[in-house]
């Protein structure tokens, strides 16, 4: 029950409700705990409520760090093989 997953807002339904999508599955959630969310934004959803926005810039930064580590690691592994 404890999961919180990122979902994209596809439609605002009014009354603090919204339609979100994760991997093609759509569900209705409440936006009552977050302000200023629009269509196309990502939110983190827990038990049917958006509990926070997902900061796409920060996500990109984390992923860039992973990509850099992969590159370094595979380079070093390559050197060992040669």
């Amino acid at each position: 029950m404890c999961l919180a997953i990122p979902a994209r807002v596809v439609q605002l339904l009014g009354d603090d409700r919204a339609l979100t999508e994760v991997g093609g599955v759509r569900s209705e959630i409440s936006l009552g705990l977050v302000d200023g969310v629009g269509v196309g934004d990502y939110v983190i959803v827990h038990v049917g409520y958006a509990i926070s926005r997902l900061d796409e810039e920060e996500a990109a930064r984390t992923l860039a760090l992973f990509a850099q580590m992969v590159e370094q690691h595979e380079e070093q592994a390559g050197e060992v093989h040669q």
């Binding site: 999961l3 990122p6 409440s30 009552g32 827990h46």
Partner: protein, 383 residues
Amino acid sequence: MKYISEFRDGRAAVALATQIAREASTGREYYIMEFCGGHTHAIFRYGIQDLLPPSIRLVHGPGCPVCVLPVGRLDSAIELAALPGVILCSYGDMLRVPGSRKRSLLRSRAEGKDVRMVYSCAEAIRIAVDNPGRQVVFFAIGFETTTPPTALAIREAQRLGLGNFSVFCNHVLTPSAIQSILNSPDVREIGDVRVDGFIGPSHVSTIIGSRPYEYFAREYQRPVVISGFEPLDVLQSILMLVRQLNGRRAEVENQFSRGVTRDGNVKAQALVADVFELRRTFEWRGLGVVPYSGLKIKQQYAGFDAEVRFAVQPRPVTENRACECGAILRGAKKPTDCRIFGTVCTPRNPVGSCMVSSEGACAAYYRFRRHVGAAALAVPQEG
């Protein structure tokens, strides 16, 4: 699935694991407690332990909301469900948890009581609107993440003037529980449990922020990294903890910068502060009575408090003597130390709460490690 699959990438996992192995080869050991059952589940599901060098010891903590609820509170819920005219709504996992005398909410339902599984407390409100002649009780459990939705539901019930909706509140607080682990004799005196640093749950911190951990990181000199739940998140957090421990730092760091800030969700915090107040004490399974670790509904919303409406009385109970859930929740034992693990107690027929939810340590061991040799099972602690 955007923002999910990228954080499960196998190549990055290998790179992170290699880096951890390199930096954690200092001759010392690193005892890291993942507080939250969601992390326990991720660690087992993705086999994270197997990617790590032997110097990293993962200690499973008590953060599974289903697991920490004491049997007495569950018994009270079972009794509420038995009252004439009551519809009891609860999150799914709770239904299967064994109460005392082999009762459970699932069994109550089989006996004809109106027990309903809801995914969200908004559903419980809808049920109350649709059944004006019945009393709807929402059996609320969970940590800081689950509390704001309950607060919203109570406010909504007030707005709608619902006289037939109430909440049986069992919400608990993460930082108090971590502090109680650090204060426990297992850690302080006996030395049975060694915890050098904590992986903190990101979903809790989306609400409370990272700030509440600053005090005890300093006070107890233990680093905390707020971590997401995908495998790369967990690996990166372990790397961050190793770096802190190598550098003799004890700070709060935020790995889940894509969703957590230092201040958290201020709107949700205000809502929670409006509806709930601290209980002086609350009992946890495994941790015992922890001061200021649980929430109750404030006087001004007493009309929606099931404990007030139905005069719920505390009831002491004795737990099944074979069950080691208590010690497991404190990190002092592992599931395989329990005599009836995997034999009498299985996910289909759970004896203790740790075997029920997929976030419980026993259930995670059973599902993902049962077939692994005994050597590999001898993981977290000596003693």
